[in-house]
């Protein structure tokens, strides 16, 4: 099972009491609380941590993108990919991912991902996401078109990568009469495509049909298994065989020299389970964004929101794994045994988890955990 390092590049640099005054940390929390100096230093710090993860033997570096929120100030996944393409040497760079429905120019996106792939020597794993509702507001993109635009944007990017130009694209949402990108990915026919999932059965089926790597985020094991079943249905429709390499899973994880220290560090993950997800439903799931099936599955997948769970419960149910390296390796083995996935994505830094703690966790993962699970 391959391990991936991930930080949301949080900007938790303000008094929490200030954030609590607003209906949500997303969209509404005024950016006068954005600390430019600390942000500049944090980007350096976070990139150093990614580079260290590359050096200690992580299989991949996962990066993501959000907007208008202190929970994630990585505001351009292709930008970060370009940086890491130069400053790291061996790990895959997993973009998870580009938010397709809010993109107005898929041709430019295809070029940017291709350029990162070229600079990195073909290490890009290109994740595509539908985004949370907040991004629809940020981009002022109509949420009723979210799925249509996701699929059409995907189709056009793929065509840019695989069909010789020049060609014309006259779709429903995208119109380009002269497409001929002079930047194509190093990997052929194109970088592997990854798709995350939390609640949408349609997305799982869609990914399965195409053989993309599918990764549920922070859901209970039985829900992940159910989503994998949808994935298998999609794969079966087109006669594809599903292997462990098609399946991934994302959890929060930290290790330290002692169990107590790790459990202390793990508390930083609670921030991303509650406070950063707080807000009106209309902001996170604007009108028309989710299908009826998606809504029904979401209710089932989250009978209780992560925000309602205590830290101990989050640890007990494996949303957060925190412990000494040996214990962490055992837990990862359990995830592998329960889900049969070939990729484990670790949200490995959050909130105010400091640099020394983060670096030590990366170091111990490399020295003790990665070798222990290499055979899985």
């Amino acid at each position: 099972m391959k391990l991936y390092y991930f930080s949301e590049m949080p900007h938790h640099e303000y008094p929490d009491a200030e954030g609590d005054k607003y209906p949500s940390l997303r969209l509404a929390f005024p950016n006068r609380f954005f600390d430019r100096g600390k942000a500049a230093a944090n980007y350096q710090r976070y990139l150093t941590e990614y580079e260290f993860a590359d050096q200690v033997g992580y299989d991949g570096l996962m990066i993501n993108e959000h907007h208008s929120t202190p929970s994630c100030v990585d505001v351009g996944v292709n930008m970060t990919a370009a940086v890491l393409a130069r400053t790291t040497t061996r790990a895959k760079i997993l973009l998870l991912g580009n938010i397709l429905p809010i993109e107005d120019n898929p041709v430019r996106m295809a070029e940017q991902i291709a350029m990162a792939d070229l600079i990195s020597g073909g290490r890009v794993l290109s994740g595509f996401v539908r985004g949370v509702g907040v991004e629809q507001w940020w981009a002022n993109a109509n949420p009723v078109h979210n799925r249509e635009r996701f699929e059409e944007c995907h189709d056009l990017i793929l065509k840019c990568w695989t069909d010789p130009g020049p060609f014309r694209w006259e779709g429903k949402h995208y119109h380009f009469r002269h497409v001929n990108p002079w930047c194509l990915p190093l990997q052929q026919p194109h970088p592997p495509i990854w798709i995350p999932g939390t609640a949408s059965p349609e997305t799982a089926v869609w990914a399965g049909r195409r053989g993309y790597t599918y990764v549920p985020f922070l859901v209970p094991f039985d829900i992940a298994r159910e989503l994998f079943e949808f994935y298998r249905q999609g794969a079966a429709e087109v006669g594809r065989t599903v292997t462990a390499d098609n399946l991934g899973f994302l959890i929060c994880a930290v290790t330290a020299d002692t169990r107590a220290k790790a459990l202390e560090a793990g508390r930083h993950f609670v921030w991303r389970m509650g406070p950063t997800l707080r807000g009106p439903i209309e902001w996170f799931q604007p009108v028309g964004m989710r299908s009826k099936a998606g809504k029904q599955f979401a209710l089932k997948a989250r009978p209780r929101s992560l925000a309602q769970m205590s830290y101990d419960e989050l640890v007990a149910e494996h949303f957060i794994i925190a412990g000494e390296p040996a214990e962490v390796a055992d837990r990862f083995a359990l995830v592998h045994q329960k889900l049969g996935c070939g990729h484990l994505l670790l949200e490995a830094q959050e909130s105010r988890m400091d640099h020394p703690t983060t670096m030590r966790s990366i170091e111990l993962m490399g020295a003790k955990v990665i070798p222990a699970i290499a055979k899985l």
Partner: protein
């Protein structure tokens, strides 16, 4: 009064329509909240006019119209409805989203209608202030924002007094979705509409609540200025849902204007 419901096919799309009253035809276009049918004010107006109140495609019990891209499509559709229903030069009344639609219809085909009534109509970018982002608010918040003082509203309990059934919730969600389809961007207005309104020489009445927190009253002034033959009536202590909030006054001024 005899009120009936009909399904009228327009280009193959089933349009659920409330019909009732006596006299010349009056086409009534509802707002984003959906077709409430014969409310108190409409019932009074129907004593003098035959009211035709179609449910927009994508709303309520009308057929789907995921292909529609904006209010211009909806306006062309309702011009077609006039023909499909066999109405000859009806008066046209529209409120909020329906008011915007009515203004577009008048600008597209002024000869297709007689008099025009715009009530708290979206469609123009306010010179001052903003049209409230209704998608950013919960239905419960919107219910309050839509009116100035709910305690004075005779139909409040009847319309909003009980929790909606699952079927009603589903329709409300559908209405919101279709509204997003029609008015997401540019938000609830058409930047070029003002260029065409001077074409509309039909007699027009514009009605607004002074305390409208959804579409500011300045839009009423803009419509009055742009339409060559229009008067504006602004009601005090009244919010966005004029026909619900002051039904008797509303029915009276509309009936007087159409006479």
């Amino acid at each position: 009064m005899k009120i009936r419901e009909e399904t009228i096919s327009v280009g193959g799309l089933a349009v659920h329509t409330w019909i009732g009253g006596q006299g010349d035809p009056l086409l009534v276009l509802h707002g984003a909240g959906g077709n409430r049918g014969f409310t108190r004010s409409l019932t009074q107006i129907a004593e003098r006019y035959t009211v035709w109140a179609p449910t927009h495609p994508g709303f309520g019990q009308s057929g789907d119209a995921e292909w529609m891209e904006g209010v211009a499509d909806l306006a062309r559709f309702h011009l077609w409805f006039i023909e499909a229903a066999g109405l000859r030069r009806p008066h046209l009344l529209g409120a909020s989203l329906g008011g915007w639609t009515a203004a577009e219809m008048a600008a597209m085909s002024p000869g297709a209608i007689d008099k025009l009534v715009l009530v708290s109509a979206a469609g123009l970018k306010p010179e001052r202030g903003e049209i409230l982002d209704v998608f950013f608010h919960s239905p419960a918040e919107l219910r309050e924002l839509n009116v100035y003082d709910k305690t004075t509203i005779p139909e409040w309990d009847e319309l909003f007094g009980r929790a909606p059934t699952p079927a009603e919730l589903e329709i409300a969600e559908r209405n919101r979705e279709m509204t997003a389809r029609l008015g997401w961007k540019p938000y609830m207005h058409n930047p070029t509409l003002e260029r065409f309104l001077p074409r509309v020489t039909n007699r027009a009445l514009i009605v607004w609540g002074r305390e409208d927190r959804i579409v500011p009253v300045v839009c009423g002034e803009q419509y009055r200025r742009l339409l060559p033959n229009a008067t504006l009536t602004v009601l005090d202590t009244c919010g966005h849902l004029v026909a619900i909030e002051q039904p008797d006054t509303f029915a009276r001024i509309v009936t007087e204007f159409l006479a």
